[in-house]
């Protein structure tokens, strides 16, 4: 049976916590383990309490876990806040001076000052922890060299010495904790988080233009694009505000560039008018909304699934859209690609709805077959357009041939006002009706291209767990925990939440004795949407809105509570 460990690294911002966590996670991935990372941080650059949590296993894992097996405490506060979460065999790794803070838990008192200077304390902690879980020195050393060699070659020697001393020190300690079993021939895997995968998915789809205004937790998508922009020939511009960001992207898209904007709730609120503009001018655009708890500024660095209804309805007037909601890092990549394909095919705004948990959650990911994935082809060929050219020609499926201005001698005219087939403002009310109908006909195409929800588990289940977006892994693991207890359990996970196609899923609801929705908001927004679209009311709901990700333990506890 696979062994799991949950490692929590805690400390102040500015102590090198993320570097330590990322290096440990990368060492684990390179050694063949599967990981799920949760990053929890406060909205500040120095101080505050922050954690980098790595759940690791020699088997496949897809969800975080709450009980802590190894608590790496870079300060006393970490011990105070997390000691109670330690599992029965849990170990605290901390400076010897902090031993007094710890109660009964096994304490690994690390003589930090003997193993390296204060500057490399995080590397000492890396060495001790890596060695504790059973990683080989050489692999961690290589990971460290890859990381610092590029950025700070001058620091390499001191870091390597500290790492070596930390490994040597641990080998002399007697530790009761069992190491992870070694993985023979580790598979070639990447360490990647959700936002990096969205950036790469966009690049793979042929992204040419990206404009943004910084906002947590979406900023790292834009930074991910920027890190490859030269190589991929992408124009990235930080705009004066989110309104400018999306309008610039629409201008670029109109001129033939596959375009994307990525933001979070408050920034998206500023973009809403331009979403409607994209709908009216039938300009393709991919909008990524990385959710965090609102209203207003809310909890800027925490997670929530509270913007589903907002994204579904944002923008005045009636026009078609699609909303994809990835549940894994792989889906972040592939569904972002799909978002570009749909945006181009249906000349509409298409959304990728993610959240802080998935944005920052590193996983071990098998490399995508990127060499065989085609980018989108923006605009139509002249041969597809009937002449005289009319940008908004009425067609059976509602999609009119989109020529790129300047690419041919034909004029491309788009108007935010209601317009005629040739794109010019009109107040002819018969034309108005035709244009509304034309635009809405694209909904049928989008519906036909909807990703069906992912069903797994027992037929005719006692419990059917229904979820969407980033909760996928936790729901799946909760179901795996319930089954050995003798319950028939199934899961139904939606990675596209609009359009909804009842034929895809209604029968599963009807077959289940009890349907339970699991989502990260207070109102049960997805359950409400299901009811609106199908009439089916999901009465049992597991909801979380304290800013933390939904874990398998959280689901199981909530279900126990509902049964009592």
């Amino acid at each position: 049976m696979a062994k799991h460990l949950n490692i929590v690294i805690g400390g102040d911002a500015g102590q090198g916590l993320v570097t330590l966590g990322s290096l440990l996670a990368k060492g684990l991935v390179r050694s063949g383990y599967s990981i799920v990372v949760i990053q929890s941080y406060q909205s500040r650059i120095r101080g505050g309490h922050n954690t980098f949590t790595i759940r690791v296993s020699d088997g496949e894992i897809v969800a975080p876990q709450e009980p802590v097996d190894i608590l790496v405490a870079l300060n006393a506060e970490t011990i105070r806040l997390h000691e109670a979460e330690l599992s029965g065999h849990g170990v605290i790794v901390a400076d010897a001076a902090l031993a007094a803070e710890a109660g009964g838990a096994e304490f690994l008192a690390v003589p930090f000052s003997e193993l390296g200077s204060k500057r490399v304390a995080n590397v000492v902690a890396l060495g001790v922890t890596a060695s504790l879980v059973g990683l080989h020195h050489d692999r961690v050393s290589q990971t460290l060299a890859d990381f610092f060699g590029k950025k700070h070659p001058e620091a390499t020697e001191e870091n390597q010495q500290a790492l070596e001393k930390a490994f040597a020190w641990l080998s002399e300690q007697s530790v009761s904790m069992e190491k992870l079993p070694a993985v023979d021939d580790p598979p070639r895997r990447m360490m990647m988080n959700g936002n990096e995968a969205i950036a790469l998915g966009a690049l793979s789809a042929g992204l040419r233009f990206c404009s943004f205004y910084p906002m947590t937790p979406a900023t790292s998508i834009n930074l991910g694009v920027i890190s490859h922009a030269k190589q991929m020939g992408v124009i990235v511009e930080q705009a004066e505000d989110e309104i400018a960001a999306i309008n610039m992207a629409l201008g670029a898209s109109f001129a033939g560039a596959p375009s994307m904007v990525a933001t979070s709730g408050g920034g998206f609120a500023l973009m809403a008018e331009a979403v409607s503009l994209a709908g009216q001018t039938e300009t393709p655009i991919v909008v990524v909304v990385a959710q965090r708890p609102g209203p207003a500024t809310g909890l800027p660095t925490r997670t929530e699934q509270g913007d589903l209804e907002f994204v579904l309805h944002a923008g005045h007037g009636e026009f078609p859209r699609a909303i994809l909601a990835p549940g894994t890092v792989e889906e972040c990549f592939h569904l972002t690609r799909k978002a570009f394909e749909l945006a181009e095919k249906y000349q509409s705004p298409v959304f990728v709805l993610t959240d802080q948990f998935l944005a920052d959650s590193y996983r071990a990911v098998t490399p995508f077959d990127a060499a065989n994935l085609e980018p989108v082809r923006p605009g139509a060929d002249l041969s597809e357009a009937s002449l005289p050219y009319r940008r908004f020609a009425l067609t059976k499926n509602g999609v009119s041939p989109r020529l790129i201005p300047g690419a041919t001698e034909h004029l491309v005219v788009a108007d935010s006002d209601e317009h005629t087939e040739d794109g010019r403002l009109t107040e002819d009310l018969a034309v108005r009706r035709q244009m509304v109908d034309k635009r809405l006909r694209k909904h049928e195409g989008l519906r036909a291209d909807t990703v069906a929800p992912d069903w797994a588990g027992d037929a005719g289940p006692e419990i059917l767990l229904v979820s969407w977006g980033s909760t996928k892994g936790s729901v799946s693991e909760a179901a795996s925990t319930l089954r050995p207890r003798g319950q028939r359990v199934a899961t139904l996970h939606f990675s596209q939440v609009w359009p909804l196609v009842p034929e895809h899923f209604l029968r599963y609801f009807e077959d289940a004795e009890r349907v339970v929705s699991v989502e990260g908001n207070a109102l049960g927004q997805f359950a409400r949407l299901i009811r609106r679209e199908t009439g089916f009311e999901i009465r049992s709901q597991v909801r979380r809105y304290d800013g933390l990700p939904i874990t398998p333990e959280y689901i199981l506890e909530a279900l126990d509570g509902q049964e009592r």
Partner: protein
């Protein structure tokens, strides 16, 4: 040979006597002077009576949201540098709703020409004050008179060292057409603030009011002299100077962005990017 007829002749929604007609003719004259084919030009506009102007022309047009023409034009120009991109909209659109974009566009200096129909009043919404309305200007919405100083687009643009700053008047059509040609020739952000009367809603700044005050700057004004331009930009009231107030040769925006990658090249380049995550 391109002629004015190539740019079409459309029925408009403007009031008889509106200054917009003369501006439309001046724009056509400038396009003819530049010998640009309609498909080589992209007009981006917002919302307002002025913003309708591009729809009365044969050209590529993106008529977007109120106030948002500048970012749309900037995005389009970056990905299609071969297009001649012209923003055409009113004072409310560019200086009110789009004020932040106006400042940002001056800072970036994209190679676009910005024609602002400036009649100091809102026409489409029937006569409210605009950002350039004079203090004390009485409207139905400001019955006690406007209680704010007018926005001075020329002074702001000069202060920020915009690439090309000019003022024209619909009542001096040839002079205006020449300014638009110069603005299009300029590589970078070029502003032409165009004074014109609103016959329906502005009874103060009438055709006669402008006619009496507007004068063309002579050779004695050196538009490359920033200090002289700062002084000239403050001149308003009995005398209103027209012409190129200020110009410089700041490099146009976008030179540091990478060129597009051939579509067929993209898959293997993405594959190369992935190695950074191993």
């Amino acid at each position: 040979m391109v002629s004015a007829a190539d740019f079409g002749d459309y029925e408009t929604a403007w009031c008889p006597g509106c200054g917009n007609f003369a501006i439309l003719d001046a724009v056509k004259a400038a396009l003819v002077k530049k010998q640009l084919q309609p498909h080589e030009v992209l007009f981006v506009s917002g919302i307002g009576q002025a913003a309708k102007a591009p729809l009365y022309l044969n050209a590529n047009v993106f008529d977007g949201l109120h106030g948002r023409s500048l970012p749309v034009a900037t995005g389009a120009k970056l990905v299609k540098p071969g297009l001649t991109v012209i923003v055409e909209s009113g004072d409310g659109c560019n200086y009110g709703e789009g004020g932040n974009h106006f400042l940002a566009a001056i800072r970036r200096n994209p190679d676009i020409t910005v024609l602002v129909h400036d009649n100091q009043v809102y026409g489409l919404t029937k006569g409210q004050a605009s950002p350039t309305s004079q203090e004390g200007f009485v409207t139905k919405a400001q019955p006690d008179g406007v209680q704010a100083e007018p926005f001075n687009p020329i002074a702001v643009a000069v202060a920020m060292r915009a690439g090309f700053v000019a003022r024209g008047f619909s009542g001096m059509a040839d002079h205006l057409a020449d300014l638009i040609v110069q603005a299009m020739d300029h590589e970078g952000f070029s502003l032409v603030d165009i004074l014109h009367p609103c016959v329906s809603f502005n009874r103060v700044n009438t055709f006669a009011w402008y006619k009496k005050r507007c004068y063309a700057l002579g050779d004695d004004h050196d538009p490359t002299d920033w200090s002289a331009a700062v002084t000239r930009a403050q001149e308003w009231g009995d005398r209103i100077p027209l012409g190129v107030i200020y110009r410089n040769d700041r490099p146009a925006f976008g030179k540091r962005f990478p060129p597009a990658v051939e579509r067929s090249e993209i898959p293997k380049r993405v594959e190369a990017c992935l190695t950074a995550y191993l």
